[in-house]
């Protein structure tokens, strides 16, 4: 081995030893220590519950993406508040998967475009997790639990069984395939949550204060809102659990704090006209975003005719003819108003003898109701009074007469709309006139009809609530849009889950569909539990 001379060995050895030394030095702790390099300097590591709560409330109000699809495309045409001769699927009994699923998509996961502020379920679960077990946080915790009830009730009313107990726990519990909870179990728990929340408030502890967009941290208002939500739960289950409906309603009105007392107790998100960053309808009213950019919303013939028949002063507040476009002079003469029939597309309007395809001859949603800073309502005092009127008609033990509640409800429903701006208002004399022309009739069924027709008119723009109350009460008595669509011409009675759930949460999804007898053909017509769905024990329809 002549090449292994001493000097060569020495050179190679020294080089290798340096290499080894280098490795040793490099693998010391210092080299692997990057300090806080991998901590995003644009985000916080610790949450601030106040700021998260405002986000949660704003999220409930939604964005253009989900409110366009859920309300303007589906619930409002279904319940015949509005009509659209173009593509609004709810107007034509049609199933469009991505539109049908948008509320589910956004409220749990942020939706296909990933808007983290829309994840109201997740944001509520996360916030509750932060606040739980801290005595000084009881008021914040209680308010958050009530917000969670609000968001879950809207979801289950739209879809039926939904992921509930295990939902929104991806980061907290590593739960990625949450079970779908039966709607009856959800309703029991929503009730229990409201009760627990009301009991939890302590006047001596801090509140969300100005971070609370609904009530500015007013504990009494929160209690009234919670009890009013319970009243809503109660009436919702009246067909399938009349016993429970009565006891929940009586419990709510007699509970600590009682129910809403005036329009000051209305639960709504105030919006502002800007700034314009983020998803459309982030700071702004989501419905207005759509109506500003895509003005294709007409009042339904059903709605217009009902208001005309009753001499309703809201007709020209909710709608107007805009022959020269919505920014030009409007025609507000009630007699000239004409609603658009549901279920007619442009061609069918053109082909019809009864209707015209000249779209400017139909009453549009009034431009005063499409300002970007218009509020979004979730429950109003008007609704509460009308529910109390119904409770009285049903002979439940609530204070006050049906007539008094009915009148207070109608009056409130005409008053609260001034929150759309001072140009949207009904005078006291008009209200008085209206009430004298449309007093509560006699007879149980006639009374229920009158009350729930008013509930329908009072929940314009709250499509989910209006549609839900129609499904459970049967009022107003609507005729399905004359279009086969995907329902065989039947009313849409639920929206369907995202199809992604079939791939991503398949077992639970299948279980929920089977439990509710949902198939591809009845996915829009299957009834949710409180609407006499598959596993309802009884049905008083």
């Amino acid at each position: 081995m002549s090449f292994l001379t001493r000097s060569r060995i020495a050179r190679v050895a020294s080089l290798l030893s340096v290499g080894v030394l280098a490795l040793v030095l490099l693998s010391c702790d210092g080299v692997g220590d990057f300090g806080d390099t991998n901590e995003d300097p644009t985000t916080a590591n610790d949450p601030n519950p106040d700021l998260e709560f405002t986000t949660l409330q704003l999220g409930v109000s939604g964005s253009r993406f989900d409110m366009w699809r859920t309300n303007l495309i589906y619930t409002m045409p279904i319940v015949q508040h509005i009509a659209n001769p173009g593509f609004y699927a709810g107007n034509f009994n049609q199933y469009v998967g991505a539109w049908s699923a948008s509320l589910f998509d956004t409220r749990y996961g942020g939706g296909p475009n990933g808007s983290n502020f829309l994840r109201t379920v997740t944001n509520a679960e996360n916030l509750i997790n932060e606040l739980e077990g801290k005595p000084e946080q009881v008021n914040r915790l209680a308010a958050t639990r009530i917000m969670r009830v609000l968001t879950f009730q809207r979801l289950t009313d739209v879809y039926g069984d939904i992921p509930y107990f295990e939902a929104g726990q991806g980061a907290l519990e590593g739960e990625f395939t949450p079970h779908y909870t039966r709607q009856d179990s959800i309703y029991m728990d929503l009730h229990d949550e409201l009760r627990a929340a009301v009991d939890q408030f302590e006047a001596s502890q801090p509140t969300f204060g100005s971070a609370d967009l609904f009530f500015g941290g007013d504990i009494e208002q929160w209690k009234r809102f919670a009890n009013s939500l319970q009243l809503r739960l109660a009436l919702r289950v009246v067909k399938v659990r009349p016993d429970l409906a009565q006891s929940w309603a009586e419990e709510a009105v007699n509970a600590d704090g009682g129910v809403m007392q005036s329009v000051d107790d209305d639960a709504y998100v105030p919006h502002q006209s800007g700034p314009s960053g983020g998803p459309a309808g982030f700071n702004t009213n989501a419905h207005s975003e759509v109506m500003q950019s895509f003005p294709g919303q007409w009042l339904s013939e059903t709605f217009v005719d009902w208001m005309k028949e009753n001499g309703d002063p809201r007709l020209t507040e909710y709608g107007a003819l805009a022959p020269g476009g919505l920014d030009s002079a409007l025609v507000e003469d009630p007699a000239q108003q004409r609603g658009m029939p549901n279920g007619f597309d442009n061609n069918e309007l053109a082909a019809s003898n009864e209707y015209t395809d000249a779209l400017d001859q139909y009453t549009r949603i009034h431009p005063n109701l499409r300002d970007r800073n218009d509020p979004m309502f979730f429950q109003t005092y008007a609704e509460v009074e009308l529910m109390l009127a119904e409770a009285a008609v049903r002979g439940w033990n609530v204070p006050g007469s049906a007539e008094a509640h009915y009148e207070a409800g109608v009056r409130a429903a005409m008053n609260y709309i001034t929150r759309y701006g001072e140009n949207t208002s009904v005078s006291d004399s008009e209200i008085t006139q209206y009430l004298s022309d449309n007093s509560l009739p006699s007879g149980r069924e006639a009374r229920l009809r009158a009350i729930n027709n008013q509930y329908w008119a009072a929940t314009f723009f709250n499509g989910i609530e209006s549609w839900s109350n129609w499904r459970r009460s049967g009022y107003p008595e609507l005729t399905p849009a004359p279009e086969e669509g995907d329902t065989g011409g039947q009313f849409i009675r639920r929206l369907d889950y995202p199809q992604d759930e079939r791939d991503l949460n398949g077992d639970n999804y299948q279980e929920a569909r089977e439990r509710q007898n949902i198939t591809q053909s009845n996915r829009l017509t299957a009834r949710v539990w409180w609407d006499c769905g598959a596993y309802a024990d009884q049905c008083a329809e």
Partner: protein, 1061 residues
């Protein structure tokens, strides 16, 4: 500047210590015992080119520090230890030569220029030049001559068809659009699959900022344009993990090494000036070929009866047969003849482009300088789109004893005008013009604005933007300034040990302005965005190289070093809507603008080492190792260390073989490369997302649940190959087989949104790619006047998703605009599969319809992948004396594309496929021309499908529907119909060039001149997709295989002049 400074300085100290130690170790070899210098050698050094003397040549006595340089006459005189010593002659631009004195007192040395040295030499990882024969993995190189006088502002496009196995796809956007480059298939499910680009030893940032997605967007532009084609000396592509292992993480998908020109001249003291100019015209070649031209705008077989009906019909071409009515009212209330007048292709213009470049080379004895400048001005084929580029580069090299310094700096400015929006209808000028009904003259849409200055709207649905409004009133401009700097010091301590230190900086600032003008239908008040991106990346490395001599037969080369990478990204942006003064497009004129800030940072610290053994110059073995600490990986999982081994055997030198086989080599390599991830993926954080009613809004930032214990990914590759040359190198074969698989993928796994998140970060899954690469070279004939060079390169790759996460068989990625298909990873299927809704078919393959007579939409299935099975390039150069003709034909085969253009053409009734149904309905139309509701019965059966996918057939389809409903259903719900084979054979390039003969040159003050005519992307010899180009894509990186309403393919024809003074 966060902790980088402090923690890094300790690292630097370490490195300094290491290299200090290395130096100290190296010196004993250098400072040897001083002997009497008792022998004198004299001589001259001349250039091999013209035998002229070379002054300034460095001469060293091997194993000592003694040396001298040649004088002005090329002569030298040096005292050496003994007549048996060896002298080393080195000079910039020339090949270093070692000459044994052999007892001679006078020596004449001839130095070959370096370009001749390049033959048989490849540049490998870390810029190490190695003999081709010693390399145990596949490399490809492209010579500079193939790059000049071809106008592609994105130099990556020049690789198309030139490298076996390299798959390039560019976006259907305007000038300098980005492209994705894929070598050996997709290795990462969620991350970037582009190779690493290295310019003169320093990585450059190739991140594409932004791109079109489901709801549209604009292409982000290529970052590679910073390298001027005129400055490129050569490009080599290191394809495998074995080749790239020393570069680490980012080189997992290969490395493209770009070497730029130096200022060396053929003789010292000379100054060369080179000027070239290229003028190119570009025009649209493909599109709309299978659209029908029999029917016009309308619905149910009738033309619109009034303006409202026309507005509401919009892009619907379900009207009456053209000519059936004389005229019909249109969107603007004007009635125009109901004839075929659309002329969609006429919307596009011929885009002219000019490029001028000037370079000055100055070579001195030990120093050379090169200054180059270029300017390019390009018009896109979309009106009002354009691109302007200015590039200045200065490079200098100098040698001082054993120290070589090489530094370069590049400044570039790029201005992009109106980058075209793609895919979705809003802002995208291609959309409306693509689907314009036949009877609408495009001139009716001009100039895009009404007299009131708002968008002249074509449809009552405001989304599809009037194309003239889009190009005249909307803005999407980029202004990018970039500086690339690089300093490289190399010190030879002695004849077997050298040190290299290099640092490079890539810094750019990108200013991006988007304006939606006041009066845009989709944004009536107008809106604008002003974003400034700043990207900063530095890379530094230290490398010690030792070549200790072992024996005459066995030699060793050792490389040991460390490197640092630091990248910062910052975005400062502002967005506002609703201009107060309609035509004043500035942020302060918007109501309540919002601001946007983003920042990210990452660092990698690495060590690496390589040992290469050579036995008798025919057997080679290389071992490498590298370890990375990445700031994006939790501390406990750092560092990750990965090795490689490769070897080659030149059997023609080892054995006595027939003469016909002039060269033969087999090679093999095995390598592993670790991979990190993006910053900030290991914890849940809370972000401020704005304010409402004076209250700040905060929520969880992540839509994907982070993984706290993130591990690096690992790519393992085995590669086998051979290279052979026959008949004195007239015919050559280079073949490679590889298998690579990437495990522990860091990917966001889509989860049920009910979990509260759209995804979770997982550390699992495996993708495997297997493929072959083949290069055939031949010189079919070669005479004094004629030569013909021919190359065929071929690459085939098959990818397979072996696994994803436990319990997960499908990972759904980006969705197409119609929401009928996704790009998905499906276990057992190729990576990046097009996963879309299919028809429901019965066991005889008949299409199953519902009771409504419309086709049912079935389960999502894998319908193919955007990646081709194989690619082929066939290039030829035929020269006769001073004239040379070359052409390149390239082909891609086996990939698929989902065509949104064709899907929309179905829905809009613009596709030829809708004609038969309408002919049937025309016959049944009522007196008013209106189709009955049941005039068309689709072929197939009526039946149903249950939850298990079982099909029950009831009867032959007997339910009539309107064709618009039928084709609307297919368009909106069946992806299968619109997935086409994206096969093509294309004449990619044709070039004719002529070098002016020296007899002409002697009369003018020009040393040499050449002129050429070049055509790029000339035409398809074969193409399997109707209406669109099979290469079309709106985001080749994120959604390969999806197309919709892009800029049609264009061809370019140019002429260029190249002068040397």
């Amino acid at each position: 500047m966060p902790p980088f400074v402090s923690s890094c300085s300790s690292f630097k100290i370490v490195l300094t210590a290491v290299f200090g130690a290395l130096l100290a170790c190296g010196l004993p070899g250098g400072v040897q015992a001083v002997h009497a210098q008792d022998f004198e050698v004299t001589g001259t050094v001349v250039s091999a080119d013209n035998q002229s003397p070379l002054p300034g040549v460095n001469i060293r006595e091997a194993g000592t520090s003694r040396g001298t340089v040649t004088g002005p006459d090329g002569g030298f005189r040096l005292a050496v230890d003994s007549p048996q010593d060896t002298l080393t002659f080195s000079f910039i631009g020339y090949q270093t030569k070692t000459v044994p004195v052999d007892g001679r007192s006078e020596i004449r040395v001839v130095l070959e220029t370096e370009s001749q040295e390049l033959e048989g030499v490849v540049v490998t990882a870390l810029g190490i030049e190695r003999q081709q024969r010693s390399v145990g993995y596949a490399t490809s190189s492209i010579e500079a001559q193939d790059l000049v006088d071809v106008t592609e502002s994105n130099p990556a496009n020049l690789l198309q068809g030139n490298v076996p196995g390299l798959v390039l796809s560019s976006n259907a956007s305007g000038p300098n659009s980005s492209s994705s480059i894929n070598i050996r298939g997709v290795s990462s499910i969620a991350g970037n699959n582009d190779p690493l680009f290295i310019v003169d030893g320093v990585p450059i940032d190739n991140t594409v900022i932004g791109g079109a997605g489901k709801f549209g967007g604009r292409d982000g532009g290529s970052a590679l344009s910073v390298v001027s084609p005129e400055n490129i000396s050569d490009i080599s592509v290191l394809k495998g993990a074995g080749a790239a292992a020393l570069y680490g993480t980012r080189a997992r998908d290969g490395v493209v090494l770009i070497t730029t020109k130096t200022g060396r001249t053929s003789a010292p003291g000379e100054v060369n000036v080179q000027y070239s100019s290229t003028v190119t015209a570009k025009d649209v070649i493909s599109g709309f070929s299978d659209f029908q031209s029999q029917y016009g705008q309308g619905t149910q077989g009738r033309a619109p009866s009034n303006q409202d009906a026309a507005l509401s019909a919009g892009l619907s071409s379900w009207g009456a047969p053209l000519g059936e009515v004389d005229e019909a009212p249109q969107f603007d209330g004007t009635a125009r003849p109901y004839d075929d007048v659309a002329d969609r292709q006429g919307f596009y213009r011929t885009g002219l482009s000019q490029r001028h470049s000037l370079s000055i080379n100055a070579g001195f004895e030990n120093t050379s300088l090169r200054l180059s400048a270029s300017h390019q001005n390009t018009e896109g084929v979309v009106p009002n789109s354009g691109y302007e580029q200015t590039n200045i580069n200065l490079r200098g090299q100098t040698r001082l004893g054993g120290l070589t310094a090489d530094a370069s700096v590049t400044y570039q400015n790029e201005l992009t005008d109106n980058r075209t929006f793609l895919n979705d209808a809003a802002r995208n000028p291609n959309y409306l013009i693509s689907f314009l009904p036949n009877n609408i003259p495009k001139s009716a849409l001009q100039p895009g604005a009404t007299e009131e200055g708002v968008e002249k709207q074509f449809t009552s649905d405001g989304l599809p933007t009037n194309p003239y409004w889009a190009v005249n009133e909307l803005e999407a401009d980029d202004d990018k300034d970039r500086i690339l700097g690089n300093v490289n010091l190399n010190y030879s301590i002695n004849d077997w040990l050298s040190l290299q230190g290099q640092t490079g900086l890539d810094w750019y600032s990108l200013r991006r302005t988007n304006v939606d003008a006041f009066g845009s239908a989709f944004e009536p008040g107008g809106a604008m965005t002003e974003d400034t991106y700043r990207v900063w990346e530095s890379n530094s490395k230290l490398l010690a190289t030792a070549t200790p001599s072992l024996t005459d037969e066995l030699s060793l080369r050792l490389d040991v070093g460390g490197s640092l990478r630091h990248r910062q990204f910052e975005l400062v942006g502002v967005f506002g809507r609703n201009f107060s003064i309609p035509d004043l497009e500035t942020i302060s004129n918007t109501a309540n603008p919002t601001r946007n800030y983003d920042f990210s940072e990452q660092q990698i610290r690495s060590f690496f080492g390589s040992a290469s053994f050579t036995y008798r110059d025919y057997l080679f073995l290389t071992l490498t190792t590298r370890g990375d600490w990445s700031s994006t990986i939790p501390e406990d999982n750092n560092p990750f260390v990965y090795p490689s081994v490769s070897g080659s055997f030149v059997f023609t030198d080892a054995f006595d073989l027939p003469d016909a086989l002039s060269y033969g080599k087999v090679r093999a390599s095995w390598a592993e490369i670790g991979g990190d991830t993006d910053p900030y993926r290991t914890s849940l954080t809370y972000g401020i997302i704005g304010q409402h009613q004076g209250q700040a809004l905060e929520t969880i930032t992540q839509l994907s649940v982070p993984l706290l214990d993130l591990k690096p990914t690992s790519t393992r590759e085995i590669e086998l190959g051979f290279e052979t040359q026959f008949f004195n190198d007239r015919f050559g074969v280079d073949f490679t087989w590889y298998r690579r698989s990437t495990v522990d993928q860091i990917l966001d796994v889509t989860v049920s949104s009910a979990s509260g998140y759209t995804a979770r970060t997982a550390n699992s899954g495996e993708i495997r790619n297997t493929g072959v690469e083949l290069l055939l070279t031949s010189i079919p004939f070669s005479t004094e006047d004629w030569t013909w060079d021919s190359r065929v390169n071929f690459g085939a790759n098959r990818s397979e998703v072996e696994s994803l996460a436990p319990g997960l068989d499908v990972r759904v990625g980006p969705e197409n605009r119609l929401a009928t298909a996704n790009i998905a990873q499906v276990v057992g299927q190729p990576a990046n599969a097009i996963y879309g809704n299919t028809y429901v078919r019965d066991d005889q393959g008949r299409i199953v319809h519902g009771e409504d007579g419309l086709p049912l939409s079935g389960e999502k299935e894998v319908l193919g992948t955007g990646a081709p099975d194989w690619t082929l390039g066939f290039s030829n150069t035929i020269s006769y004396q001073n004239v040379s003709l070359d052409f390149l034909v390239d082909a891609k085969w086996g990939g698929k594309v989902f065509s949104g253009t064709n899907a929309n053409a179905y829905g809009n009734g613009l596709h030829k496929a809708t004609l038969d149904a309408r002919a049937a309905c025309d016959e049944q139309a009522g007196s008013n021309g209106r189709y009955p509701e049941d005039c068309f019965v689709g072929e197939g059966v009526i039946g149903s499908v249950n939850g298990e996918g079982e099909v029950t057939v009831d009867r032959e389809n007997d339910v009539g529907v309107r064709p618009s409903e039928y084709y609307g259903r297919i368009s909106g719900e069946i992806a299968e119909e619109f997935v086409y084979d994206a096969n093509f054979i294309k004449l990619r390039q044709l070039r004719l060039s002529y070098d002016l003969p020296s007899s002409v040159m002697s009369r003018v003050p020009v040393r040499s001149a050449s002129v050429s005519v070049v055509g790029r992307n000339l035409f398809y010899l074969y193409d399997s997709v109707p209406n669109i180009s099979p290469e079309s894509s709106y985001n080749s990186e994120a959604t390969p295989g999806f197309e919709q309403a892009g800029v049609p393919q264009s061809r370019s024809i140019g002429a260029s002049v190249n002068l040397r003074f």
